[in-house]
Structure formats: structure tokens, C-alpha cells
Symmetry: C2
Subunit: 465 residues, 2 copies
Amino acid sequence: MSKQLDPFFHAEGIAVIGASREPGKIGHEILRSLISSGFKGKIYPVNPKYDEVLGLKCYNSVLEIPGKVDLAVFAIPARLVPRVADECGRKGVRAIVVVSGGFREAGGEGEKLQEQLVSTAEKYGMRIIGPNCIGIYNPYTGIDTFFQSHERMIRPPPGSIAFLTQSGTYGCTVLEWLAQEGIGVSKFVSYGNMADVDEAELINYLAEDPQTSLIAFYMESVKSGRRFIEAAAKASLKKPIIVLKAGRTSAGVKAALSHTGRIAGRYEVVKAALRKARVIQVETIEELYDTMKILAMAPPPKGEGLAMITNGAGPCVMAADAAEQYGVKLASYTKETVEKLREKLPPYALIGNPVDLTGSATTRDYVNAAEALLEDPNVNILALFFVFQDTPLEDEVVDEVAALKKYGKPIVAMAAGGPYTQEQVKRLQKNGIPTYPTPERLIKAVKHFTTYYLKIKQTTKIKYK
Amino acid sequence: MSKQLDPFFHAEGIAVIGASREPGKIGHEILRSLISSGFKGKIYPVNPKYDEVLGLKCYNSVLEIPGKVDLAVFAIPARLVPRVADECGRKGVRAIVVVSGGFREAGGEGEKLQEQLVSTAEKYGMRIIGPNCIGIYNPYTGIDTFFQSHERMIRPPPGSIAFLTQSGTYGCTVLEWLAQEGIGVSKFVSYGNMADVDEAELINYLAEDPQTSLIAFYMESVKSGRRFIEAAAKASLKKPIIVLKAGRTSAGVKAALSHTGRIAGRYEVVKAALRKARVIQVETIEELYDTMKILAMAPPPKGEGLAMITNGAGPCVMAADAAEQYGVKLASYTKETVEKLREKLPPYALIGNPVDLTGSATTRDYVNAAEALLEDPNVNILALFFVFQDTPLEDEVVDEVAALKKYGKPIVAMAAGGPYTQEQVKRLQKNGIPTYPTPERLIKAVKHFTTYYLKIKQTTKIKYK
């Protein structure tokens, strides 16, 4: 069953139905995206109006394409979709992505068109993603069905995060956030109205995908709650699953309905089921993104116990508040650690949790404090808070603290500010240290991260290294 | 009383005690900041070790300075501070900023030093800001006591926001966020240990300051709760006051204590008092920043009723959830408005709240929808959600929607993504439209904004235009 999804991510021949010569048109931009993302297979524009689009021979119909077509991407009006889908079936196309809207979400005629599309696909054993979506992105193969140009939307590099979304908009947002921070994805699917392929099938597929270490969802409705929960419960033993469920309130449910024509489930019911399936539940797109980052970058923690180091106290006061609020345990140090800190740090450093090195902190102070804490058995996660604006702190601090990953414990960081700070944050993350702009966002991410691994440890009785 | 604070913001002669020739040293960087921020008055470096620092004549002691000194900035070890403060008193200095730490927050000897400092200042009628702070920034006069270099920390332009903070770190963060988005400040004070000048006095001063339209605080402890609340209650009738109070939990209180040596008040008590004084209360630095932005940029709303327009539904589903959660009323349109929308928008547009123009939206669609909604008496705030990544949407949309400010109703926006989107966001904000990266952040800011103005309307019975 799962193998049926392969053509979406590994197609060798792709037809773009409704390819256009006009820049800005959806059928033009999808073609450009495939070319710009370096798709290595064959691309076949289809449009009876043209002989050639963007330097590629253009066909009147998929039936005229000489080579094999694994995947067809539709950028034509909804009313034309069922007929062309039938042609695809006859051609032997295995998978179709319908970008166009005007189906179930539009009601009336649109609902009928969606039914026709589904029955046509069933007849030929074709699989559908969409309609009403932005489709697929696989940086490993260069499959990229976005009508968002590279000029307007940057793409993340290959990596290990799979992101699945019912909202194309949030797809764009999260992919660009990842791209900007240099974090990679394995597979991306915007699945819109979910006429055929649904979340359960996507989870099953990605659970087996060796390139994927983590699966994250933005969802409004669930097609089959039971199948989804079963799939999630099985997959979550292998890799973390994060879900942002929109439509939590009656106003949200109403908005979701007109978005994809599907009813959002009752939030409390969904929540309880997800918890049982060890799914990490987040409430905003920032929280989803923040949680992705720590799970993708940091090694699993051995247990609880967060230690903080800073050169500016304010954010650690807020972090202490957030830790109590969200239930993140702050570490108590051993006597030996306190002695080591006293010995190695300058007299004005305040030794506690946080270790406050004050605005006079240097790289050496950070490294000395971090080493002492990482050697403490009570410390399982280290959080480094930086005021990079403070001039006594040398640029090198980033590389020096990155070297401390050799201790094998998760290290996270917090820093916020303008261009110089952003440059340092980029360097931290390049070095594999997930970095957050506020203490609350750091603490929530740490909470999800430790909770997931502690649950897995309990469930599987396997010691995570 | 308030006039006594003038020298901090309008000094004509400033001494930098502990001026250094060594880059990276605090006494060097403060001097450079004053020069870089274009301070037009006289700058007097003081350090017996040098004859000259950064091209300026350096003095052995303040007593040797020939001209008038209004303000002295201290960057010397705590133990030397009381003696030099006495010299400042004899010289006739009116205000001092003590950047150095090692006072009350350090306990023991430090506490005594702080007491000596205070009694010396009292003797001469000098006012103190600090110790343990980063001091003052006034872009109108170029007074800038930061030891954070311009290379590492950008400064905001002149504007109308006053930001006061017990944490220098959050000072750096908020000032750089403002600077990056081109939003200006009137006055900034990092007040650290609050040995003398406190929040109540700062509020009273800024309430009368014509350059300030909005006062925002990050605070951990309050020096005199009663005086603060009285000052806030009076000032909030004239201009909005935002407070982020850290130390909400016992862990936070502990962390705050070691930061500035002051006990954070019980949160629930503080909260109730602030509410009565019409103070806008926020819980994170992002929420503080987001609320600042809408208050600084948007005209007061005539009432409740938020209308949304989008070209991508996901964030509006989340916005609807957030609106219900935080109590932001979504507008119901009049029949006329719905008819106008039907008539002017393409058939695939989904007319509701949000008005969903879909990924095919053009600038014209946005303007048509926005005009219809702004003409509706039930709509008092308009929120524009943009997927700038979608290629059909032209660049010009920003200027076209900015022109709609002529309706006099508050307009806010949401967009999130990479470089292209950030460029558009910058343009929106340059045009006076506060723009947010997530629906939740937009909704919370709108909530604070409308709640404040509705309270004021009730209290003063004045109709806000």
C-alpha cells in the first residue's frame, strides 16, 4: 500500500497539466519550480495552446507524451480536471497532484467534481494528493510542485524533517523558516482537501522512510480519526510526531470548514487520542517550528534537569517562570559542580540556576561553566543564553560551545536581537545547536522534547543513548 | 520633582568615568556609543591613566573638568563608586548613571556600597539611575550610555515609544527589534537595581513628555507598589502603559532576586492592581513588542469588530481560534457589504470572515475587499493576511493597501516567510501598518489595543476619534 506513494516523491517522468508561458500563472510557475529545484527526470508540459514552454516541448494531451509519466500535476480549472484525469489513467500515470481549487471546499458543483475525480482515479488505480493544495517538495529528487517562485519563496536543503500540511500557506511559512536557518527536510506534502491520500497513509509511508527522522503536521480536519491514531501510535515508537490541530474553537471550526470543506473534529476528543498515541501536540505554528528544531538537531536526553548559563539575567528570570509554568525541571547541581564553578569562574559570577556570568562574560567563562555543568549527572540538558550584543563576549564563543556537543547531552541556546546577533544565531544552528528568540519558546520546545523521550523510554524500556 | 530627570535625557556635558583606550572595555565602548550616536554636547573622558581617549582630552578627575557636567556615567569597579560620586557632587553634577554591577545584587559588601552611593547622591541632590544597568538612550539628543557597540547592536530612530527595563538584556533585544523594523523610540531607560530613580518617577516624567505617546516596562520588582500604581493610573488616562512583569512563579522570583537584589511582589496582587490602573499586561517579551507596535502605529479603534482578508486560509483558521480564545470579536458584515463583496470579487472568492481570496488573489481583489469592509459600520479593525509567496499577488499590493489608511480605521497585517516576505513586511510597516508573523500574535495585540481604548472610552466618556 505504502509503495503507492513512491511516485509522488520519486517520479521519473512528470507532466504539468496546464503549463503556461505567462509568468505569474500557476501553470508557468510550477514548471519553473521543477526546473529551478533541479528535478533530474523528464518534464512534460501539457497545453494544447503551445508547442513549447520554457524551452520544453509542450504536448496537446498526456496521451501524446512519448515517455513514461509517473506523476501529473494539475493546474487547470476544476471543471476540466475529471476528463484530464481520465486521460492520465489511460496513459498509465500512477499519481496526480491537483493544485487547483474549486472542489469540495467550494460546495455545490465543486463537490460533484471532487467525486468524479476520485472515482476516475480509483478506476485506474491512480493516487491523488489535493485538490486545493500546493503539493509536493522533495529536495532529494528535486520534485517541487509549488507555484511559489524561488524568488519569492526559498526552499530548505535536504534533511530529515517531514512536514505535512492541510494549509499551503503554513507550508510556505515553515519551509522558508527552515530554509533561512539552514535546516533540511526529507519530504513535504500539502494535502489540501484530502480527496484520496490521507494523513494515516502518509504517516505509515514516512514511518518507513529512512530519510525521515521526524514527522510534523498542520491539520484542520482528520479523514479517518481511528486510522490516523493507529498509524500515529505505531509510528511514534520509531520517530517523533508533532501535530498542530487548528479548529480548536467553534469559530475555528467554521473557518476550517470553508477552507477545505471538511469538519474539524471535537478538539478535546482529538487531544486525548493524540496524547495516548504519544503525539506531541502544539498550539501555534511557532511552537511547531520550535519543537521540530530541537527534535531534529539535539540528541535524546537521558532524563530531566535543565541547567542555564547566561550573561544577562532578564531572560533567565522569564525562563524560570516558564519552566515552572510548563513543568520543566531545573537541575540542582552537585556539591562538586558548585565547587568547580566557584573555582573556575570570576568572583562576580552568580552561581545558581542560571549561572549568571554577567555582562563581563568571556568565551572562557562560558566554556568553564558549561563543562562543569555538563559533567554533572543531574544536568541532562544545557541551555545557553547569550547577550551577543555585550562587547566583552568574543565571536569565537559559538565555535567553542559547539565543541561541547562531544558530551553527548542536548545543548540549546537563546539569543535575540539585530543583524549581529542573527549572524551568531545562524552560526550556532549551523553547528547543530537549536537556538530560540525567547525563553518561553526555548522552554516549551524543551518540554515537548523531554516529554516525548521520557514516554518512549517508559513504553519501550529501551535506554536511549 | 520630575524636572530632576531632565539631565539624564538632555545633558549638555557628560563625563564618562572609567573611560578606557582598550576596545571591548566597558569604559571604552560607552564613549564610542556617545560619539557614534551623534551626541552634540561636550564629552569628558575621566581616567587618571590617560591624557586622551578616542581623540578627546581625558581628565584625572571630574573635579578637573573645566566645563559644566550635567551627567556622569560610571564604568568603574563598585568599590570606587561612592568616592567618585562624592567628587561628582562637589563638581555640581546633577545626574549619574551607574553601569557597574557589584552592588545590592551581589549582597554583603555590595549592599553597603549601594547605601553609601545613595547617601552621597542625596547629600548633593544628585539623581541616580542604576547601578547594574545599561543606562540611557535618547535618539533625539544622542545620549547613549550603552557598552554595546553599534556594530553589535543597532539603535532605533527617534519616535514615540518610551521603553523602561530592569533588564539590560531585554533592552538590547527590544531596541534592536524596533530598529530593524524602523520603529522609533522617544526615551529608553535600563534602571537595574533602582537605587534611586524608580518606576513611579519615570512614569510621571514620561506622562508629561510630549515626545512620548506610549510607555512600556519590563519589570521584575517594584520599588513602591502604591506610588507606582498611582502614577500608572494617572498616566494611563493620557497614554497607554504596557507592563511585562517577570517573577510570576516562585522559580522566577528566586531568579529575579539574584538579578537585582529585589524581591518580586506576589503576582496575583500586582496583576489586580495593574488592571485597575488600566495598565496593559503582557506575559512575554514578544507580546510586549507586538503590543507596542499596534499602539504606536494604529489610530484608536471606534469599537470592536475585526474583519479579515486573506489569500491563504490556514492562518485565518488559527486566527479564528485565537480570537475566540482571547475574546476578540469578529465582525459580522451588513447585507450591503456582502452584496458589494459578491459583486466586486471573482466567483471563487469565499465571502465570510475571513474573506478568502484564495491563492489566485491580486492586488485589485485585496483593495476591493478592503474598501467594502472598511465602509461597513460593523468593521472597526481590518486585518490583512498575506501569502506574499503566491506569485499572482503583485508587489504593489503593499502601497495600495497602505493608501486605505485614509478610512481612519486601524489596519494590521500578518505575513510570515523568508527574504521576499520580510521585504514586503518592512514596506508594510514603513507605511504604518503593524505586521505580525503569526495569527496568535496579531490577535493578542489587537486584544490589548481594543481593550485599552474601550476602557479609556468608558472612563473618560470622551469619544476617541
